[in-house]
């Protein structure tokens, strides 16, 4: 039974998990991006819609299952872990305890994102970016960065009518899908995202089977019409 889809990034052997997480067995490292915890709370605070406030629990349940499956020594949350800093403050007590339980006994690294730039009152280390072996981990891909793992874009792809969050990689750069609920997505053919990658880039769909397809063969949706 394989955990997910194996891929190599600048020499590092990684596994793209069906959940959207990234596992690096040699380092015992699990990386997830764009959890957007507290998104529904932030919407409510801004007098927007009162969305079902279970998104954080759904995200944490997914993370719990991944941690249970791969038993990482180190977890990297690759930015936009909280929908904003106030959402981190206002986190539901049960969710907070759940998160603390997941953090216990392992290295936990919060990388800053555009939604959560700054320290948060929760354990773990806070960094702008991180280098592990050959790889750099940061929230937003740098224009000419190589050997880099990032998030931010919430990439999605549509193959044979199946639309899912996806990983995008060209062997030197890897963009992770958004791990959180209620996060929406950006079509992977959008120039802002597509232009980050060189020749031979491919997408790996999240979901029960790791479906892999070449990025330049995916036809764009006629707009970002996905709902």
């Amino acid at each position: 039974m394989t955990l997910g889809h194996s891929l190599t990034l600048s020499g590092a052997a990684l596994i793209a998990l069906p959940s959207g997480g990234l596992f690096w067995p040699d380092e015992g490292l699990l990386c997830v991006s764009d959890l957007h915890l507290g998104r529904s709370e932030r919407m409510a605070r801004r007098a927007g819609a009162l969305l079902p406030p279970y998104d954080s629990a759904a995200t944490l349940a997914r993370l719990d299952a991944d941690i249970e499956a791969v038993r990482p020594a180190r977890v990297i949350c690759l930015g936009d872990s909280f929908d904003d800093l106030a959402a981190a403050e206002a986190m539901d007590e049960a969710d907070r305890l759940w998160l603390l339980r997941l953090m216990a006994g392992r290295d936990w690294l919060w990388i800053e994102g555009n939604h959560d730039p700054g320290p948060i009152d929760i354990g773990g280390a806070h960094l702008e970016s991180l280098r592990v072996g050959p790889l750099s981990f940061r929230h937003i891909a740098e224009p000419d960065g190589g050997a880099e793992v990032s998030g931010h874009f919430h990439p999605k792809a549509r193959i044979a009518g199946l639309s899912r969050p996806c990983f995008v990689t060209d062997g030197s750069r890897l963009v992770l899908p958004a791990y959180g609920s209620y996060t929406g997505g950006l079509d992977c053919t959008t120039p802002a995202l597509r232009d980050l990658f060189g020749k031979g880039a491919r997408v790996i769909l999240t979901g029960p089977r790791p479906i892999v397809a070449p990025l330049d063969q995916i036809s764009p949706r006629s707009s970002s019409l996905s709902r």
Binding site: E41, D92, R202, R209, A213
Partner: protein
Amino acid sequence: MPALPRPLADWFSAQSWALHPHQTDMLARAGRASTLLIAPTGGGKTLAGFLPSLAELAQGHAGLHTLYISPLKALTADIRRNLRAPVEGAGLPIRIEDRTGDTPYTQRRRQRADPPHILLTTPESLALLLSYEDAPRIFSGLQRVIVDEIHALAESKRGDQLMLCLARLARLAPGLRRVGLSATVEDPPALARYLGPDTAILQADPGPDPDISMLDTGAPPPWAGGGGRHAIPAILDQVRRHRTTLIFHNTRAQAELFFHHLWLANEDSLPIGIHHGSLAREQRERVEAAMAAGKLRAVVCTGSLDLGIDWGDVDLVIQVGAPKNVKRLVQRIGRANHRYNAPSKALLVPANRFEVVECVAALQAVRDHDLDGEPRGPGPRDVLCQHILMTAASGPFEADALFAEVREAGPYGSLTRPEFDACLDFVATGGYALRAYDRWQRLVLRDGRWQLRDPRQAAVIRQNLGTIIDVETLKVRLKGRPGGTPLGEVEEGFASTLTPGDTFLIGGEIVRYEGLREMTVEVTRQPGRDPKVAVFNGTKFATSTLLTQRILRMFQQEAWPDLPRHTAEWLALQRDVSRLPEPDRLLLESFPHDGREHLCVYGFAGRNGQQTLGLLLTKRMEETGLAPLGFVATDYATLIWGLEPVTDPAPLFDIAALRDGLEGWLSGNAVMKRTFRASAIIAGLIERSHQGRRKTGRQATFSSDILYDTLHRFDPGHLLLDITRQEAMRGLVDFARIEEMIARTEGRIDLVRLDRVTPLAAPLFLEPGRIPVQGEGRERLAEAAAERLMKAAGLA
């Protein structure tokens, strides 16, 4: 009885107009609290509704006196024109204005400050008016409210919303009198209760039976498909022989295709127009004006012309495609010949062979005065949630008073206090089991009155008023003319299937898709090329139980002397290669086609029932490894395709298992999610996306599907899921008809294995509205497609 004011009476006699008995009756009943007038089209219903208002207004009145509500914007403008003649002719000091979404902002503002005597509007515009703080002032002097085409409004949530608004109006204007105007309906007392307590029914003379038959086209209709192209020469011939013909189609796409081909065949250049809801307003108005001026010999149209608009010159109605519902057919036929007491003339044009059978069944039902109709359930609670929001937008309210008011609305007469409180709680706090939003609730209770926490919310609430959940549409414009008049609108779903170079039909023109620019579909004209089938927007009605039963009985005949020969031969061929469905047996056909295995289930349970059956069956097939890929349902059958053939159907049709499936399936199928989305928008959980305000790219709205899944998992008892289940029971699911099918067939299942598509199954392959099954089969296909792509790119 208030006499007709002298000037008006004089004007009528000058026109040699004599009032019909029911029109004088309406004058006599002017003082009654509530009256439902049932009259055939052409009976001067609308004038009957307005006469008491004109009589009272002739005496003088300050401010708003009469509110007229119609389901169609076009109707309000038309009524304004029609009323102007007698009012101006008689020199009455009455100001009449309409107010719809199309009314310019400045005029709407002025109307609030200085309302006319008679305001003509729609349910949505009324709800909007009521959401303003000055609603009490605007409506305090209101005397009468006229609800036109109430039979049509009562069939949708628009009617429920309107009845709630009428209850509100009754509070603002004590003594308000109601009038409902309706075409022929099967159960008048039920409609009277709907309009309000103490509603008296006034039934006008229904007039003579219509002159209705099937059009003899010479050539037989095609084996499958819709549109009625084969009948164009015969239809043109009829148009030539009549003054004005209305040519009804069941879907906009079919109307477009038909219109296109009609023009190609229109060698005499007869003036013929097209009218449907996807066309730009300017274009519809041009057609309406030309029609009113008697300049058109025919209009190709859809349900957009089902109602209202008194065109005296229409002397023939042609229905292309199966009528689906006898009551609506009778109402459509009424569009022809507005001369009271003359028979309406109508022709039915079946678009394919199956529809021939349905048309013959419908003709017999019309002859027998056998109208179909289904009883209404209780008022939907998502509409109530929106009404509570609307009330809050207009100002603070007390829960007790609002509850009492809501119960005055016909559809909500049996609403319980706990049900009301649950809706109020949802609106205020989100209604989640986990009370997460106590601090951020939408409504707060201050001094015993509920009000908006953030007054700025009122603007958002107003933008989201209404119960029509349109499929999102995009405007279509000619490339290089960004400011030019749009050609029309297409569904977002349709637009997303287009790639540059594709051609489609809109407004009778073939256009080439060039690209998408700022949420506008850019096209160029492309005359002379064959269009890709226009599949945008299709209203799908379910064939009524009454009609499907008549069809099943007809199948049992030894021979079919009532049917044209081609159709009788087709049925005989079906009987020969397979068999015909029988009322007390369930026929299944299994055959391979185009690399997929197919199963065709002739349940005759109506479109919605067959759709539910498709969902339940594919779920069970998925569980047993048959890898279904999708299905499509019509009124008489469901066609399922997948990777493996079905060899043992009995376990699939076990009623207990089907019921279990119904309980269990709620956890994730497209129909339930679509139902949820509509209710979530109406109830105010998700905002409508407005053109221009649409979020783009990374901020794309999370899908309502995810909200549905989250609620289902963490809060299965939530009000919105409860509403969704109830909705699905009566609307899209229609499990009762599946129960009825199982009961009548009692396990007598015939599975016929064939090596190819059968005559009866063929039309299903051309049905739009295919529903994909997200399962093993689709994963396998995506995997294969990805592999091919990898190979193509030289990566594997």
